[in-house]
């Protein structure tokens, strides 16, 4: 730094300080969210009944839990995952193995990214317009799962496609050279070698869907009862947190914090495990 004028040095120092400050400004909210959710959440979970009881009929009453919402979130996310993760991976297999480089595959890849930017509320309105308006004529867990699935789909497709395209061509060629048919090569060679990456993408999609509120508002609607009926309204953690955040009743706000802790634990565990899998066994 010899020969650098004082003014240039000052600019350098100011700007570098700003960069560090920017990192702090981004990390302080993260820390604050985690600390608040953990402290307020732990304070609001009174024993196991939080996980086994539905909320009390009177929102103003204390006690009860959010078992309805925990079961609802798990049910709808699982239902969405069972249908849309295979759909996304199949789409990705088609793109990389059977149509790589052609115009359709480029268009699908591009619009999958565009679709991840669609406002999730509109995904909810779409699911409503199909399953609530045309099929069931009332709110249902299936409609909620459909909306969540539509959110997972492009994420799974996009990440799987990227992971599959990282499998070296030589691996495919080696298998084909042994006389293995294409479908067997894909099933026994390509997919297994990309397994870790596919798992990561799917888990990130599940984490994202589990935290969504807007798509469930006019599809699953919510319910204060523990319900396993897929054709009926169902609660979900984000929905309960959302009502709690708007509630004037301290007890309901308490349950919202406890729900927030449960949800954030679920989402962060999924996200962190996904990253761990990706780091551990990347292709």
């Amino acid at each position: 730094m010899k020969g650098v004028s004082a003014r240039r040095r000052a600019t350098d120092r100011t700007m570098l300080t700003f960069l560090v400050l920017a990192v702090l400004l981004a990390l302080v909210p993260l820390a604050s969210i985690l600390v608040e959710v953990i402290l307020k959440g732990i304070g609001a979970i009174h024993g196991l009944s939080f996980f086994t009881q539905p909320p009390p009929g009177d929102a103003n009453a204390s006690g009860g839990g959010l078992a309805n919402a925990i079961i609802g979130t798990l049910t709808m996310v699982a239902l969405a995952a069972v249908v849309f993760i295979p759909l996304g991976i199949l789409g990705a297999v088609y793109l990389t193995e059977f149509a790589s480089g052609n115009r359709l595959s480029r268009a699908v890849r591009f619009f999958a990214e565009v679709m991840t930017g669609v406002p999730s509320i509109m995904v909810g309105v779409f699911a409503y317009s199909i399953l609530v308006v045309l099929v069931f004529h009332h709110f249902s867990a299936i409609a909620g799962a459909f909306a969540l699935g539509l959110i997972m789909w492009p994420i799974v497709l996009r990440t799987s496609e990227e992971m599959l395209s990282r499998v070296p061509t030589s691996v495919r060629e080696a298998s084909l050279a042994l006389g293995t048919p294409k479908w067997r090569t894909v099933l026994k060679v390509v997919l297994p070698s990309a397994a870790a990456g596919l798992t990561t993408g799917s888990m990130l999609a599940v984490a994202r869907a589990a935290g969504e509120t807007a798509p469930l508002l006019f599809t699953a609607l919510g319910s204060q009862y523990i319900s396993f009926k897929l054709a009926q309204p169902m609660s979900a953690l984000p929905l309960e947190i959302f009502s709690g955040a708007q509630s004037p009743f301290p007890d309901q706000i308490q349950r919202a914090w406890a729900g927030a802790l449960t949800l954030i634990a679920l989402v962060l565990v999924l996200t962190l495990v996904a990253r761990f899998v990706a780091a551990k066994r990347s292709v």
Partner: protein
């Protein structure tokens, strides 16, 4: 084949369904209702401008605050940070994207609003005397409150994309800058930022797209008042949040159709912006 092209079909079907369901509104009011300033569903008056203004104002506030922070974090990670802490810091910033938006909303109401109160009061008392957009009295939930929380929510989006773009700037450029005697900031300013420009613009538009479509966090913080006000410290409404809030309560078919029409506008705008941004980022990374 089906698994792949079905996605394109789904997107197309969305446009068709939204258009179909909102058709009576377009037929009855043409395009004029979009700039209508009055929203009174009970009287059958549907003007979308208050929501459009609210969406734009909160998103602009989010960009003004969020963009410098996001670019700063991305530059810090790609250019300044010692190799050991790069990964942990970028992972932590990515975690901000994993936090569900309803939790941002809850946290915003309980933690951020009380902290913003004195800031808003101070700005209203000082700048607010001369500049109408800062005029008081602050109302608690407001465009500003929603914008601040949105800013935090879009930081990870902009940061992650610009980080990827900075990484593609060849190492030679950095070494050449240092060889010419540049300071680290000059290396960034003249070496890294110029080739990354298109990518940065694309990343900011992606962030804007996320801000425009954000629903529940904004709904909880914006005040839910369907009127256009001059000050960012007063309450308002946004396109996504009015759909979330009124969709379930709408009695009149036309009310529901008007909400879907607002949604269609939002949908088309965000999709077009995403297409444009992806093209920019794609070109920058190539």
């Amino acid at each position: 084949m089906l698994g792949a092209s079905a996605l394109l079909l789904a997107l197309a079907l969305m446009v068709v369904r939204f258009l179909q369901l909102s058709w009576p509104v377009w037929k009855a009011h043409g395009l004029g209702w979009i700039v209508g300033t009055h929203w009174a569903p009970a009287e059958g008056i549907f003007g979308a401008l208050p929501f459009i203004v609210g969406t734009v104002v909160t998103s602009v506030i989010a960009l003004v605050i969020g963009t410098p922070i996001a670019l700063g974090t991305a530059l810090f990670v790609s250019e300044i940070a010692p190799a050991k802490i790069r990964r942990p810091i970028s992972d932590l910033i990515d975690l901000l994207a994993a936090v569900p938006s309803v939790i941002y909303g809850l946290w915003g109401i309980i933690v951020v609003l009380p902290l913003l109160q004195p800031v808003e009061q101070f700005l209203a008392d000082s700048l607010g005397r001369f500049i109408p957009i800062f005029a008081g009295p602050p109302s608690g939930t407001s465009f500003f409150a929603a914008g601040v929380v949105l800013a935090i929510m879009i930081v990870p989006t902009i940061s992650a994309v610009t980080r990827e773009v900075f990484v593609t700037v060849p190492q030679d450029v950095r070494e050449a800058a240092f060889a010419l005697g540049a300071t680290r900031w000059e290396m960034i300013r003249y070496g890294v930022l110029p080739p990354a420009q298109a990518g940065i613009v694309g990343a900011v538009i992606l962030g804007l797209g996320r801000a425009l479509g954000e629903t529940v966090a904004v709904l909880l913080l914006i005040g839910q008042i369907p009127s256009i006000s001059k000050s960012i410290f007063s309450g308002g409404y946004s396109m996504a949040s009015v759909i979330a809030n009124e969709f379930g309560q709408s009695q009149e078919p036309l009310h529901l159709q008007a909400l879907i029409a607002i949604g269609l506008v939002l949908f088309v705008v965000t999709v077009l912006m995403n297409i444009f941004a992806r093209l920019l980022v794609g070109r920058a990374k190539a």
